[in-house]
Symmetry: C2
Subunit: 339 residues, 2 copies
DNA sequence: CTGAAAGCGCTAACAG
DNA sequence: CTGTTAGCGCTTTCAG
């Protein structure tokens, strides 16, 4: 009673072999319903808890899918993880989540930690990694899926979109509505690689249209907070007051910028237009509602989960890595005079 | 090359025993620095990855702390997890995270899944659980910590606060500022137990002051979204237009309520006051800023982590369960005429 | 500081 | 449908 019971004890109590107990705890094993029922009851009474660690070692299957995200507290990444998790659950796979804090060095450390747990697949947010991290992932001999990006040199499978292209779409939208003096608010690009990609996309898109791409406000380390968005807007209004429209690297920053306008009595979109990225809930609720881009986070999670489930089922059917591109969608709302 | 190298291969390549390789990968083991360095280099060249599964089985230590939260996408819970994780990291403990979706049945299922992985401790959000979940946790023979609540019958350790008392503080604040017709916006209380506790605290506090506690607007399942907060405010303004102040079960709902007022041209706090809970970032950024209550999520995570690290280190020093009560703090801002 | 033997709790592989 | 045997990769334990 003091020590935790094992299958051996359960087997003894039920009058069967250990192997039969093992079968009673798996779904696919061939065992009579009666026996299974009886063994499970005995196990329950003994307070037996299946030991997944021992099972994993012997079967060489951990049931883990390792997942890295920059931040736990981000609705976009959370939606991807929730959808991924929902798709993996029926396949008996559990998500082992780690956060990189938008830091490639931390990502490297984390990947090392996660791989020790023998995950069966690895889903990582982003397509930029340290050399060592790349090597670790390639050596791991498990399916790797990069998401939220369209990497130049994919490690394996990809379920993502082009952050740069998304900004192109947004610049096109603003340009079509007559805005020409457009600014960009973003974080320190040496950290947030997706943010850096968006900034690059903004600059390129502006140049392509013969517009001035130099209205760039850089705040601190990502994620850019609402408060930092407000601070950036304050700087923008003080230093470049003729700016006609602002694109923020993500919706929270865009909302922060909006609040700064409210505080100053500047009308949005009449005096200045504001747009974000991510289609966070706040973009649809704020007054005015914010124009944004929906990258379909849940869809990415589902597709990644689907891909993993398939790859792990048909272990041999490898016809090279899969690339699934998601098309982010412009959501035009009142903050840019639309909707 | 095709199969993953084990310690055996590393040992052979380094010309030492498997045991010595094992020691080279642990921090406390007695081994010369030279040998360790050499072995690690050999291991790196072979692409060796330490197998935590085998290690866990033999040592009977998983290095996992299982943690359940209602939702991944919630800044409050995320802050608790981040702080907890930060405190456990130096102790070599990894967080194994699961989400309950605000559902006690799902929590029960999840706890069962998590316990199979042999976690060394269990941190759960909330103090309400199914009977079966309680039994599983008690049988697990590991430290259990309930957070974000002050349970009537704790399972073991507690690092939390009284949700009901927090509402008492908020009602006192509004009452002191002269508001008497106060409403409460919350979710379906059969799911969100903390929300239900807050509602109960609201009703009791109102009654204690001889105020009418019947202005209760119930929206859908938790978490109550910004949109639902706005919808609830719309109902409130339509059906009980003489309401002077509104308390929302959490800040996002409070912000939603605020936006509904903006849309209708109702001034906050001049026409109606609004307060929330959680001290989410938005409460400090919105215009006007929202009065709220800070439950110090990070502090709870730190304390829980500290407690676990201590319990697992001094395995025998059990002087009964620990209760750490956090005192939530009122943050008075413009939305209730303060600040 | 280093090594040899034994075994953690379960399941693959085979037999019946 | 059920049982026997062996062993997953590491670390505990004991010796040197």
């Amino acid at each position: 009673m003091s020590t935790k019971p094992t299958m051996k004890e359960v087997a003894a109590a039920a009058g069967v072999s250990v192997m039969t107990v093992s079968r009673a705890f798996r779904s696919d094993a061939s065992i009579s319903d009666d026996t299974r029922e009886r063994i499970r009851n005995v196990a329950d009474e003994l307070g037996y808890v299946f030991d997944a660690v021992a099972s994993n070692l012997r079967s060489q299957r951990s049931g883990f899918v390792a997942v890295t995200i920059p931040s736990i507290n981000n609705a976009n990444f959370a939606d991807t993880v929730a959808a991924l998790s929902g798709r993996l659950d029926p396949a008996g796979l559990q998500v082992l989540l780690g956060r990189t804090n938008y830091d490639m060095a931390e990502e490297e450390r984390l990947i090392g930690q996660l791989l020790r747990r023998q995950p069966e697949a690895l889903v990582i947010t982003g397509g930029h990694h340290t050399e060592r991290a790349r090597r670790m992932m390639q050596n791991a001999a498990i399916p790797v899926i990069e998401t939220w990006d369209l990497p130049q040199e994919p490690l394996g499978n990809v379920v993502g979109f082009s952050n740069a292209d998304a900004m192109r779409v947004m610049v096109a939208h603003l340009s079509a509505r007559g805005y020409r003096k457009i600014a960009f608010i973003g974080g320190d690009s040496s950290f947030d690689t997706r943010g850096a990609d968006r900034r690059r996309g903004f600059v390129t898109a502006m140049q392509d249209r013969g517009l001035d791409p130099s209205r760039l406000i850089t705040v601190g380390r990502p994620p850019v907070s609402m408060r930092e968005g407000a601070a950036a807007m304050a700087i923008l209004l003080d230093t470049l007051p003729d700016t006609e429209a602002v694109i923020a690297v993500a919706d929270p920053a865009a909302f922060g910028a909006l609040t700064e306008c409210h505080r100053r009595g500047i009308r949005v979109p009449d005096d200045i237009a504001i747009a974000g990225f991510g289609n966070f809930e706040i973009s649809g609720v704020s007054v005015p509602a914010l124009t944004t881009i929906d990258p379909f986070p849940a869809r990415m999670g589902e597709q990644a989960g689907e891909l993993i489930a398939g790859l792990l089922r048909g272990k041999v059917t490898k016809n090279g890595p899969t690339l699934i591109e998601i098309e982010p969608q412009l959501v035009a709302r009142a903050s840019t005079g639309a909707g």
